[in-house]
Amino acid sequence: MKEWEYQPPPDIDASMAETLQNFPREPKMLPYAIRSMASLLLRGWMRTYHHMQVDGRENLPDAGSYVLVCNHTSHLDTLCMMCAVPLAKIHRTFPAAAADYFFSSLPRSAVSAVLINALPFNREAKGAESLAICAKLLENEGNILIIFPEGTRTTTGKMARFRSGIGRLVAGSNLPVLPCHLGGGLRAWPKGKMFPRPYKLHLRIGTVQTYGHLEKNGRSVRAICGDLEERVASLGRQGK
């Protein structure tokens, strides 16, 4: 008789904290159920409390992996982007989140990993290690990565320069990148405030960009960052 093959998960000996901080995470039923419920509630809250409006949803590719790039004014950005992607893809949508902030304690890790499905992004060493994880994630079909290339939330409303990570991730590959702009985030939930306020949020999703024609070098990385920065900014100007 042939022996059965068992497949114990790689994280069977990991503690709860390690399981939450590890990436990629094993698919688990309870977190999936909680995340699905939370996403539904979140969508309701965004629509009623913030009167969220999304333009350009039709630009989102139906299949394959892609990257969403957005300006960063508040925690609402991530939540808003998560409401823009189809509900069925919520478990394959990964907002890159600073590991030193979102995964610094067990309760924070639990919220980040279970509710937001965040990818712990290590900002040290220009994020080389974390970028490799992102690249690997995007090799699999149907994953969505959300990145805020400014690296931190703005306090003034002025968009900061895009960091090189996004450029290094997509230079020389045919990975679709969609520039997005969220307006109203700064007013609705400024950095340092405990709770968001009921102001309108307006998310504009731009058209698909690819950078497969550029070689993987420093110049094209800067060019990509500049191009995306300009596209995000121009989406922002549309409303004014």
């Binding site: 068992y6 114990p8 069977i12 503690s15 039923m29």
Partner: protein, 314 residues
């Protein structure tokens, strides 16, 4: 079982006193060893685990029948989850989902009264439930139109439900009996003492391995010592079930002493076959839930049916 009855139950209060005394004693021994310069980090971790688990168990029983049944059901759910994860059954969400539903059903059946007899706990349905659950599990491959690998998945799901769910839930069903405090507290206490006795006797006198292919740490001496301790325990704790005859005390001792170690060995060969050391990391210093309740899964249903045969469970 209820909070009022727990406060008036001499059995409950006596066990609280015994366990509290033992915890203080063990803590003092650990403290003295530490002061003598011995390395006590491993036993201290286990001890801290007990400091969390014992109040949880006593507190749950204190809260009454519903809390006890739901508490055991939660342990069964976590235990099944650990089993499903270790075997890889967890990757099949249909099957794991079906077993979770079945465990929920099992809990409800243990909680609600029998509609015809109006006694707490629907005994007939509880005993018949495996038939329906096995039918449901066997149906899943048909509904999904799949054959490849299904025998393994179906077998694991059935074992997972029957052993880790249904057999273990007999412990919860004991909460419906008139002597619930005595039965539950004695079982919880005796099964753990049996474990500790096997470990201690094994450390002191153990040379010959009990089942070397299954568990390298268990020795014949430990096993014999544990059976001896377990057979004497029901006599020492006779107050837990004053209605028992000597025959029932002897049977209880054998069920706990032999059954407890068999339960341990069952989990051991399951782990050995899969190739893992612990079933999980739920309890610090103890491994997974299954590493802690392994003996109880074996003991509870056999004790239950022994009691039912001689005294009835309602």
């Amino acid at each position: 079982m209820s909070i009022d009855q727990a406060l008036q139950s001499d059995i409950f209060l006596t066990y609280v006193a015994i366990v509290a005394g033992l915890l203080v004693f063990a803590g003092a021994v650990l403290g003295i060893l530490y002061l003598l310069g011995k390395n006590v980090s491993a036993p201290a971790r286990t001890y801290r685990g007990w400091l969390v688990m014992i109040p949880l168990v006593l507190g749950t029983i204190f809260l009454g029948r519903e809390a006890t049944i739901i508490g055991v059901a939660l342990l069964a759910v976590i235990g099944f989850k650990e089993f499903a994860r270790a075997t890889g059954l967890y990757n099949d969400w249909w099957m794991t989902g079906a077993v979770y539903l079945a465990l929920g059903m099992l809990t409800i059946v243990a909680l609600v009264p029998d509609p015809r007899l109006e006694q707490p706990g629907w005994y007939g349905f509880f005993m018949a439930l495996p038939v329906f659950v096995i039918v449901a599990i066997l149906l899943i491959p048909i509904l999904r139109n799949r054959a490849k690998g299904q025998l393994q998945i179906v077998s694991l799901a059935i074992l997972g439900f029957i052993y880790f769910g249904w057999m273990f839930m007999h412990l919860g069903f004991l909460a419906n009996t008139p002597h619930a405090y005595g039965y539950l507290l004695f079982l919880a206490f005796a099964v753990e003492i049996n474990d500790i006795a096997a470990y201690t006797f094994g450390k002191m006198f153990g040379k010959r391995k009990l089942r070397e292919e299954i568990s390298p740490n268990k020795t014949l001496a430990g096993s014999v010592g544990a059976v001896a301790v377990s057979i004497s325990l029901p006599w020492l704790l006779w107050f837990s079930f004053p209605h028992f005859d000597p025959l029932h005390l002897i049977l209880t001792g054998i069920i706990v002493g032999v059954g407890g170690q068999l339960g341990d060995l069952v989990i051991s060969y399951i782990k050995r076959d899969i190739g893992i050391k612990d079933m999980g990391t739920t309890i610090k210093g103890h491994g997974g839930i299954l590493d802690r309740v392994d003996s109880m899964i074996f003991v509870a249903p056999i004790f239950f049916h022994m009691v039912r045969w001689f005294h009835g469970v309602t």
